[in-house]
Symmetry: C2
Subunit: 490 residues, 2 copies
């Protein structure tokens, strides 16, 4: 399925910062379109102080890149742009260059649903510098947001354990695609269903829902509203019980539940959307059980997140088994942006030249980039549990020591014995602009998240103050970086 | 221009919560499709503790509603959905009903670019309850996000005063439309330009940019990189000076600037993206001025928001006159969701019946809804400055007292003398499903924001602890609400 083609049938190649196009133009003017580069997209800090993040966004990026071409309306728009003296920003020769430009980069990426950590490339682009620039912004936009939400969802699912988590964020999400991409990423991260029907249609995510307060208000009283709903949908009946008085609402719902039972159906659930969720759920459970409605579940919603769910389950013994999570998931409310960056690793003046490694310095060590053409090797224990990740440079031989060095602190390093099993995480996605990767289904990506998270030590999955997973530079890459810092620092 | 048609050529009618459709189905099953309702979309608290918000999103909502119909693929998807016993969620008769359903609501709304306040309807929907339900979620999604961002932008522009503000948020925005809608709303709120080229193309927003660190890294040294850029774009040359050493970077840029000057061009600006922006900008200004480059501006970026800009300008005397604002604007980082709601005001069982006012109770007074079919009247002083807003019910006569009563505290009220000039804010947008409103251009909406904000007392525009603008209920509406609280509370 090609989502972007389906949702956005306009070309998305202009979904980029203007400076990418002015830099591309400057390359063209300087006759440097042969220049090639390797860029890596990565983040420096996990969101939410989480011990891990969940990679997400690749399938959307694939759709975007498969439509990476300028349409005539794009070119006409670019031709209208003016510089500060009123002359055209771009010469028509450049417009012609863009018209016939064909995407021919190599892209390697970590599959969706993989636990990932700071400093490691989630995606690597190798190809004409001019193209590497134009596609930077859209790739960051997609990967930053979807990785952020998949991570949030994984944390919420971790807190909810075996309970169902429903994503209800559409009405507060950041725009139309903010909601659709959030539903997708939340599902990959571990949510069980969404309320967003369009996301259900586009991705095959299960859709779930109850009813609104307005349903009750639109009837003469609560019982009448419940009856009307149950009669219409005996096979999908979860009643919202807090429009007026919650405990009274539960009692009204129980009447309906007994009635449904008699007719061979069942009251699937009741929903609490306000008040003291622990107290009310415990009381409601008692009333439901006493009435024999033991298979009616209790759904809760109302500004939930991983911390509140964990507290309700572990400290307050709430009788809730289905969690409707909206705003705080779909907007990643406590940290609404992942600061992923896209940095140059090496460059060459033409495809026949040698690669030259490159570094970006900063007064903050965390902002000093990593040079080279990077790959990530994940070492595992014999039982499959993750041990450590090594970032290495494909342009250098590997050191025999098998020692990895913390990129932010050279004093911290870790030896890895030679026979340790491993897997390289970056997979070939495009070669010379042609797709060579078979995208897994969204269900497979979701399953991957679940399986892979089981290989992560539980200390790393802790919601607060998690243990930090070791990610280091291969020794020769470390030395290369130190060397470049010296050279550029002079 | 029809944005949604252009960006999203798939039908968006399924951009709704499943429960809207199951409620619609229940109405149909209960033969209650004749029921009519009035709903109001409003927020209870301004975002960012701001003294005001800026309404935004209406033009997108108009596009959405002009395409409010089920396509065959939507219906096929709905027909596949199953209830918890595996039977179809929707009978085929309902699918047929949806197939021929025609949008025929009346919509009234406050134009984009208007300062708005808690509790007042930004948009009112009147029509078949079934349709009012289906369109709720998309309307909230659009209005919540765009109003949030327009408000953030207005605050940032307020802090920046006459300086230029450029929106650079695309790479960190929440999804593709999260960025496009953010660019649009930021422009309406007061930003001067965006880096997002697609938003520029779609909306005619001016596009601006400089160049990236990677441009410098991709050359042998900074001077060479600057020369290459300036040579290619003498009419659009703003140089990023902090890739290695900022002050050295400024000196390299000055060389280029002098060269451009000699050739009859000019160095438009330099950009600082890290470090102590106050110190560096003051030093850079000195160096530029000493070199005679007095018309080269200093652009700053790096996690800016209204507070930082205000501090840099007012407390630190930074020599910055162009502000590039990204993540914190495009995601409304300190409060990434506006909690706008959509509540039932009145109902009738068919178009020929009397309207019945409705209320939603809550233990928190702020969450008790306002009944009726509401309109907002804005009173002004003789010089045009805003005085107070009155929410009144079009189904009740107005009291002669002209007294407005705070909806959250009946002790607070304000008399308004009879001859006070006023304007009603909700304008007719759709009548019986037909568009009757001529949308202003985005430039006109941006100008409206600017003009209208000048009518707001500066205490209300203060960034922190603003003065609160009086919004009250008309006296008869207040009495109706008190009456309904008594009745429903029993």
């Amino acid at each position: 399925m090609n989502l972007l083609n389906e949702i956005y049938r306009t070309s998305l190649i202009l979904l980029t910062d203007l400076y990418q196009l002015t830099m591309a133009y400057s390359l063209w003017k300087n006759k440097a379109t042969q220049k090639e580069a390797v860029f890596h997209a990565y983040f420096r800090k996990t969101p939410f102080n989480s011990g891990y993040a969940i990679s997400c966004g690749l399938s959307t990026i694939i759709d975007y890149l498969q439509n990476f071409r300028f349409e005539e309306s794009d070119l006409a728009y670019l031709q209208e742009l003016e510089g500060n003296d009123g002359s055209p920003l771009f010469e028509s020769g450049f417009i012609d260059y863009l018209r016939t430009m064909e995407f021919d980069c190599d892209i390697d990426a970590i599959p969706e649903g993989t636990p990932v950590f700071p400093n490691q490339p989630l995606l690597r682009v190798k190809g004409p510098l001019l193209q590497c620039m134009i596609l930077e912004t859209a790739i960051l936009n997609i990967i930053n947001f979807q990785t952020l939400i998949a991570t949030k969802a994984a944390r919420i699912k971790e807190a909810a354990k075996d309970d169902l988590v429903l994503e209800f964020g559409l009405r507060r999400a950041q725009g139309i695609d903010g909601s659709i991409s959030a539903s997708k990423a939340a599902y990959i991260g571990g949510c069980d269903a969404t309320s967003n029907v369009l996301a259900g249609k586009l991705f095959g995510i299960p859709v779930k829902g109850t009813h609104a307060h307005s349903w009750v208000m639109a009837h003469d009283n609560e019982t009448e509203a419940f009856e009307a709903y149950a009669q219409a949908q005996p096979n999908n009946c979860t009643l919202l019980v807090d429009t007026y008085d919650t405990i009274e609402g539960v009692k009204h719902a129980i009447k309906i539940g007994l009635d449904l039972k008699q007719k061979g159906h069942r009251l699937a659930g009741i929903r609490l959307d306000s008040g003291d969720l622990a107290f009310l759920s415990i009381e409601a459970r008692k009333l439901l059980d006493e009435a024999g409605l033991t298979d009616t579940t209790i759904v809760a919603s109302n500004d939930l997140d991983e911390y509140l769910i964990s507290s309700l389950k572990n400290e307050q013994d709430a009788a809730i088994t289905v969690w409707g999570v909206g705003t705080r998931l779909a907007t990643a409310h406590d940290q609404p942006a992942l600061g992923g960056v896209y940095k140059l690793g090496c460059i060459r003046s033409s495809p026949t030249q040698e690669w030259l490694p490159k570094i970006k310095l900063s007064e903050q060590m965390i902002k000093v980039s990593i040079p080279g053409m990077q790959q990530v090797r994940r070492y595992t224990y014999d039982d499959g549990q993750y041990m450590a990740d090594m970032i290495y440079n494909e342009l250098q031989p590997l050191s025999k020591s098998s020692c990895i060095i913390d990129p932010n602190n050279a004093f911290r390093n870790k030896k890895i014995s030679e026979e340790t099993p491993y897997e390289d995480l970056l997979h070939p996605i495009f070669r010379n602009g042609k797709l060579v990767y078979q995208s897994p289904s969204i269900q497979e990506s979701r399953e991957r998240t679940k399986q892979e998270l089981q290989k992560l030590h539980k200390g790393i999955k802790r919601l607060s103050n998690p243990h930090s997973y070791p990610v280091g530079l291969e020794e020769n890459l470390h030395h290369l970086r130190v060397e470049l810092i010296k050279v550029e620092g002079i």
